[in-house]
């Protein structure tokens, strides 16, 4: 049987990449913001690295008109939505839009609940390619997977009826076990409350911080990177081409984490096959930020055609690994502790057998170990890209990458003999991202 997409719209065969305004700008949206940002995505080479969705989040509408259809806020989008989409199209971007399966959006603009058909009928002629669909103000329509499925399926059907291929991105915070049914109607589904710009800071608003407290019934907001990773670990295997666990938009470059933390955040999102939506202000991006999000070796993990998320091998030590399409493996040692630690994993732990036998055949092989951050762009180079308004430096970076540059594979940093172990020293809140390649 030919492989099919879960939602059968053919989209998101690898996790979607792009930019979304929310994490930085929240409701402060406008046509210039989207178009300026898309210009920078071209100039810095980000578009051509794969970040091709420009997604507008909440706060773009007025109240519904007398005809029941949504009206665009003309102060923010004086030329209407289709004009924005057309501009993006001309630059080879795809255009994303937002609504909520509630009476209101989360920012209390009109929601699409019980207006699904009308709103889909608006989106399609606006050339919308992507819909982020939120969960606020759901009028109590939750409590079993069936109730939530039905609510979100209304929009899935309405989008389908338009005849336009629209990537459908659920944002229901893992309520009602969305990971068990999201893939039947959508291309991705959020797995937690909203991320915030912290690696590990506990916050009472994200599932209470204490997962063993049954009073903690709120999916919450203010979820740290680590809280999200811990939450998604048991069902990360539900992600597959066309249907992905969404760990929420990236915080890289917003300022709340250290460089090592942002590297870890970015690499984990890639390896877990989350959608990769940049959330920073591209107009004020630092050299270090650019050299995280443009690392082709990490992006290659995200976009590996095999589409198999890494699994958590041990919760305590946060060793994650998973296979890649070409037979390589990706292995991440994430140090969640507050001090540097020495970490270790045997090949037997890294290659968990999927089929017969307790020991995977890879355990008996020799592996060259590649460090995927080894060829991170130097600050002066990424600064040059940001400084150059003509995008030539970015172009050069891309040309190298497209030539199947060795940098897709990082740098070889060692070898592991058959039945051997990998030992690494990992800094506080850092992640060592390795790609074992068969030496055969």
């Amino acid at each position: 049987m030919a492989a099919v997409s879960a939602v059968e719209n053919g989209l998101a065969r690898t996790p979607q990449m792009g930019w979304n305004n929310w994490n930085t700008f929240a409701c402060d949206v406008s046509e210039p913001l989207l178009l300026e940002t898309s210009r920078i995505m071209i100039d810095t080479g980000l578009r051509d690295l794969g970040y091709n969705y420009v997604v507008l989040d909440d706060c773009w509408s007025e109240k519904r008109g007398a005809d029941g259809y949504l009206a665009v806020d003309e102060s923010k989008f004086p030329n209407g939505m289709k004009s924005v989409a057309d501009s993006l199209y001309d630059d080879n971007f795809l255009f994303g839009m937002y609504s909520s399966a509630g009476e209101y959006t989360c920012a209390r603009y009109p929601g699409s609940l019980d207006h699904e058909e009308q709103d889909a009928e608006s989106f399609a002629p606006w050339r919308v390619d992507y819909l982020k669909y939120d969960n606020c103000y759901h009028m109590g329509r939750m409590g079993t997977p069936l109730i939530s499925f039905n609510r979100y399926n209304e929009m899935a059907k309405a989008l389908k009826e338009t005849g336009r291929s629209i990537l459908y991105s659920l944002c229901s915070w893992e309520e009602d076990f969305v990971h068990t049914w999201g893939g039947s109607i959508a291309n991705s589904w959020r797995v937690s409350g909203d991320i915030y710009d912290s690696f590990a800071r506990p916050d009472e608003l994200c599932g209470c911080g204490d997962a063993t407290n049954p009073h903690c019934i709120a999916p919450g907001t203010h979820c740290s990177v680590l809280a999200i990773l811990n939450k998604v670990a048991p069902y990360i295997d539900r992600g597959m081409p066309g249907a992905w666990n969404d760990l929420d938009m990236l915080e890289v470059g917003l300022g709340g984490m250290s460089d090592e933390e942002y590297k870890a955040h970015f690499a984990m999102w890639a390896a877990l096959r989350s959608p990769m939506l940049l959330g920073n202000d591209l107009r004020a991006m630092s050299a270090k930020t650019l050299s995280i999000v443009n690392n082709p070796a990490i992006i290659a993990i995200s976009q590996d055609p095999c589409g198999r998320p890494v699994h958590l091998r041990h919760r305590e030590t946060h060793v994650w690994s998973g296979p890649l399409a070409n037979g390589d493996q990706v292995v991440i040692f994430l140090n969640a502790a507050n001090n540097d630690v020495d970490m270790e994993a045997s090949l037997e732990e890294i290659f968990v057998s999927e089929g017969v036998g307790g020991t995977a055949p890879q355990v008996a092989q020799e592996w060259n170990i590649h460090d995927l951050w080894a060829h991170r762009m130097r600050d002066k180079d990424s600064k040059a890209i940001l400084d150059a308004s003509d995008a030539r430096a970015a172009c050069k970076h891309l040309q190298q990458t497209q030539l199947n540059d060795v940098r897709l594979f990082g740098a070889k940093v060692g070898t592991v003999l058959p039945h051997g172990k990998i030992n690494v020293h990992v800094g506080r809140h850092a992640a060592k991202v390795l790609r074992p390649r068969s030496s055969a």
Copy 2:
């Protein structure tokens, strides 16, 4: 888009304030009780400080008549309900009433389940402005948010159909995640079983006392102040103008807590934006009780137009903070321990960034720290108000307050430099309530 109330009745833009008879009088209700109490609320200045709802609780009815309509117990209300409401109106009060979304009320009087329209049709001509709507004897109609939503929405619709603006106050003890949908149909929703007059005493009847015990399935009664605070912490952010988490009626002055505990209870309810319904016997109020509930600096927190509840920054240390409309912050150090403790919080902990950057801009500012209990009325002054039957002393107190008296802001007790910390010594079960104000 203009801000709208969740329930779209325009009420409770700040948390409702007033008095409810239950905590002191339970079923011992009567017209004289309500009218005498309202008289004291005027004379002590409480009405003009904002306590303007007089809410009658359970036990006011007879059985339904042959026509299916509720009959008022004439022994308790010989002139009928409208007469009570008229008297209250003449004194600029609003009148609150009680029923239950069950076959019975909690005290086993006739409930409104399946009689919603009839009962709303009774309430409106009685000039009812407020309905507390309870959860006892629900005939099994719970178990998913959708089931509970539908049950409570019946009364919402019935109230709306009367054409009268009636504040709708749900009392379903957080069953079926009411915090996720209550605001769509009501102005407030209870978050726990009934409060009782204890700060921290564990009681097996309040969610069992041990929140990690899955056998603890009863929302319960006998919930201490601390149990309620812990329960609401993860979703306190669901409160907003027009729709509030209800932590239950106040116990201040009933006798079961120390003065420091009552101060902490009162301040926390205000800062968390709970409705503020006095529950004590106003005819026997002490000077110390009055000087708690008439503290304009605390009431100003409750009624801040911004309407953003403080958040729990650290569960272990019970540091809560949140922003105010004028740019000030409120910070509470609550000492839940059984001995005095030294507590500390950095500006970085107090000002959690809501948007871009891990560090809020306020962290880099200098702040004057104001103690909101500093200008608590002296005992002799509050005693004078209580003794004076002509309310002149109260009036003077109010006049000062209305002149934007400095006492709205307590007293300055220190300064914190940019990136600095606040250190306080807090007594057992006390709360240090501070209002940092920018020194700029």
Copy 3:
């Protein structure tokens, strides 16, 4: 408003008392067993102490007939059910019957699910006064209170339609929060899986033994006395005249517990206002068993007209207390530990204020402390009753009791001054059952 029964059938104003065959005889039922047992209940005085229901449990039927009605197993009941009921009536007993809200009964006889009307139509002309209604093989009809309520309500309606007053006893093991709705349709509801004859032995089949394990989803069987007490503690206050928490039938005299454990079991069931159904073989009752179950001082607690179950004041120390109709209090110190302990409770802990003020007025009174086991019948006296076939000794016991004998109140064993404490030494798995009486 006049007090009404929840289920409005006027029955079980105090918890039902009687005998049920299951714990001893399981499926080994017959007409002679019921009639012989009832004869002993008369001769030993148990009937006249209040044990007036004789309840037949599972296994009495054949398959349904062609007409869809249940057929009685003629090998067990050759004269039919009505004949049994008639005999019991002649001796002033009431007759109880069993079925299940499933396709089968628990022993896999025909169940009443989807046959409720037919079966009620059988029970009424058989003079059935009581229906124990079980939960096995429910065809998946559970999962929300509403689903379970509807299933059990079918039989409630069917019983009502017969026009006969039939005590309705739910046996759904606390599934779907029956304590929140059982009282709307029934006179009692089971709160746990089946009891077994052990005081504290953990068993993996009773809610897994480890209440903090979320995998423990089975209400289970093999529930020890202590497991049941711990489970019902948080909602024991839902019991009230006409509607009781059912802790399952008594194990007293079956042999698996010590005399002290049986005394504790019996006293706790009485004080918690559970139905009191003897489960032992009365034909082989020991003197010590009889003197437990015929203790008028304990039965008086069970049948106190006030009907307010004792509450658990502290889970760790298992101090329970509650008020009685005449102003006395019952206080139980239950020692759940494996060794003797000294226990203590202050009047402030014993008398928890229900209304205003943290301190109940009783704390300021002086109390005479009565030990309700002090006048337990001596072995030789209870043996004499069991030996005497003419019931004269029992009669004498009863006459004394009916004269408001001091033994209803046990014996005074001390006095507590205002604001004082009670100190007791309690043996392993024993319960000290005290009745403080005002010395005023």
Copy 4:
């Protein structure tokens, strides 16, 4: 009343035995694989020991045809399904088939959801005797037992309508408490996520590994033997003739566990009355593997006509026991620890009273203790069977067994006096499997 099967199809009066391709071959299925395997089952004597179902798992179909009926993948089954079944029939096997109650099977082939009648109409003429029915891609139709029951009941009804007796095996991973309703419509039901070839290795994908973490909502995959045993312990008593808890297919011989671990795994599955489906590649079976799965003493436990699963007497020490039809008992000491331990159990712990009295009568008897692994076939004998293509050695083994060979009862290894104890030394991850037999 005559005993009836729960699902009333008369099948699986003892747990089904056979072979399923999934654990070894996953999607790599074909007619030759099934027929070669069945040939080996004959030659090695496994068929005649009871392994008589050959079950084809996922991946056998093409897309649905234009008529809506499933089409067999002709590259894998060129002669169609009926031809496979016919061949198996000729060799006295029964034929098992697979589908899923979802839009897809787990491997994303067409599922039977909303096609139940069509697919049952396909299976019956193909001579299908057994249907494993999976749970992937359920379109959100879960969340209460009622929702899941209805979904699985659609296929139950469709199978019944065909008029063919088809063993119905649910694979819904214990979702929605299937153990409470599975037996009403099916012959077995899975109790966990998929097993993997490890005795105790924690894996984040099996219910998260940490059962006390409420975020662990995924039934998961990669469940170790020990994880499954712990999960099923509280409701293992729901298994009975015709309706069994299914602990998933066997991993014996796949290579991930030690010989002692496989022995323990096999014995526990037998004693818990799980279906016994071999999952290894029979074409490459070792002598040690054969001598585990052909141990008649263990198989006799599995197929004991009494059908009462052993119960866990103590979670910490993993002592399991239960009764057998002839009055013997089976007792298993499972050592879940990582080192050898001395274990002990008294007769009182082993024989838990089911009826009257805390002490079972067996406690007062003397017992001969038999070790059921004592007569495990010697390596050279099992190797001889595997080497012999004419099956003569196997035949000899069977003849001995069928003569009620003493090996059905293992070997006597000791005696326990009345009220005595059993003491054993148990190796890491081993299980001592004993069968006490009355010495009377």
